[in-house]
């Protein structure tokens, strides 16, 4: 986790963003406990109230739940919501590719060719 002191984005928000991404990407599994607020504060060398606020934000978003005697654990993520998240990311990435292709003067057909080639390469790697 890289925290930027002067980016204008409050640190608790940066932490929440990083953890949210990890949760949605499945890196943090359902039922898995987040580090304790004081343990995380110690490791990141920030105040406890900051990690607490980050966790509270995730809890407000429904991503984690606070459990008596144990800390914060990751909620089951709605697979529909996850799929939608990924779908959005695919669309954004492709829109970016189209923009770059336009600038390079590529036709839609050429762009599709490239996509096809990359897909084939990926398939070969995986098989």
């Amino acid at each position: 986790m890289k925290l930027l002191q002067n980016s204008g984005v409050p640190i608790y928000q940066q932490i929440a963003e990083q953890l949210r991404a990890d949760i949605l990407a499945g890196k943090l599994k359902e039922g898995e406990y987040l580090p304790s607020i004081r343990g995380l504060a110690k490791d990141l060398r920030i105040s406890v109230i900051t990690t607490m606020k980050a966790y509270e934000q995730l809890e407000a978003e429904g991503l984690v739940t606070a459990a008596q005697g144990k800390g914060f654990y990751v909620n089951a993520q709605d697979s529909e919501m996850l799929k939608e998240q990924h779908l959005r990311r695919v669309e954004e990435a492709l829109a970016e590719a189209i923009r770059a292709a336009r600038i390079a003067g590529m036709t839609g057909k050429e762009l599709q060719e490239i996509l096809r080639t990359l897909l084939d390469m990926q398939d070969e790697k995986e098989s």
Partner: protein, 324 residues
């Protein structure tokens, strides 16, 4: 349940083993509560109608020299007994400080409370005699870690021959070598160099982590910038009165740092909490609730540091008739 007035704090249970009860039924856990503390000196009065330390967090007592920080801390640690008011520790019903409470409090002072002729070795022996919960091995490990112990250290060195910084390290080692629930540290960063101040912050975080929500730290400082990265709750003291307090994240939402153009300075000044202006523009703190009064101006907003908030609050309370 009596509602605390003013405070910008949410009332939530803050234990690591936390159960979030939601928006209702919220109770702070308090390491310490005090009511109607008063102490008069010639030309100065400490007056604290209410004080609460949130358990499991590090609270900073911020104030200029002479604001009354040491007086307040001396009252809370039982060093000063001639005061009015009541204190309850660790959620106990009984008010006041007794031996069992003393055993759970660790204190470091602005000077050194070790007698000057004691040696480093004697500090260890005496601490062991004074406190049941003093761990010699921990003390030695801490001394070594802090650079005042270990092989090559002359334990027959007297306290008076140590530098201010090393005397503070000695106090910190002795206090952290005990099992305590509350650390009260009077200006712990002052005699330390920047590297060691950093280390002090790590030690405080470590203490809180070890406690898992059961250990609390209360330290005073006249320069909060050094300790900002470890401060959870801030109490600002000015002329013996608490003029502002709250959790840092909430204070940073209550006060906004605003920068703008010189042409707008006059109009902005009426809405701002504190301001500095020059030919190049103005800069200052504005209460979030007053931000709308700056609508239409060419301004940038930033989150203030705790240091900026403290300075603005202290300035506002120093001048008579300054608007809040």
């Amino acid at each position: 349940m009596s509602k605390k007035d003013v405070k910008t704090t949410k009332e939530i249970q803050f234990n690591d083993k936390t159960d979030r009860p939601g928006q209702t039924a919220q109770m702070w856990q308090k390491a310490l509560q005090a009511w109607n503390l008063k102490k008069n000196f010639k030309g100065f009065q400490l007056s604290v109608p209410g004080l609460e330390l949130p358990k499991g967090f590090a609270t900073a007592l911020i104030g200029e020299n002479g604001a009354g920080k040491t007086t307040l801390l001396n009252i809370l640690t039982g060093i000063r007994l001639d005061y009015k008011g009541e204190i309850s520790y660790f959620g106990r019903q009984e008010k006041g400080i007794d031996a069992s409470v003393q055993e759970r409090i660790g204190y470091t002072g602005p000077g050194s409370y070790f007698l000057p002729q004691w040696t480093i070795r004697q500090v260890e022996e005496i601490s062991g005699l004074l406190f049941d919960n003093f761990h010699k091995d921990r003390y030695r490990a801490l001394c070594e870690e802090l650079g005042i112990g270990g092989s090559g250290t002359d334990v027959s060195k007297q306290v008076k021959s140590l530098s201010d910084g090393n005397r503070m390290k000695l106090m910190l080692a002795a206090v952290l070598a005990r099992d305590t629930s509350l650390l009260i540290l009077d200006e712990p960063a002052s005699p330390l160099d920047p590297l060691m101040r950093d280390r002090l912050c790590d030690m405080i975080r470590n203490y809180l982590d070890q406690g898992g929500g059961e250990k609390t730290v209360f330290f005073s400082t006249h320069n909060i910038a050094d300790m900002e990265s470890v401060t959870d709750y801030a109490i600002i003291l000015e002329h013996g009165n608490i003029v502002e307090e709250g959790f840092v994240e909430e204070l940073k939402e209550k006060y906004i740092c605003v920068k703008g153009e010189a042409a707008d300075a006059e109009r902005a000044g009426e809405a701002m909490f504190s301001m500095h202006r020059s030919a190049y523009g103005f800069e200052g703190i504005c209460l979030a609730r007053n931000l709308e009064r700056l609508a239409g101006m060419d301004i940038t907003l930033e989150t203030p540091t705790l240091s900026q908030i403290a300075v603005a609050v202290m300035k506002a309370n120093t001048n008579l008739g300054k608007k809040a």
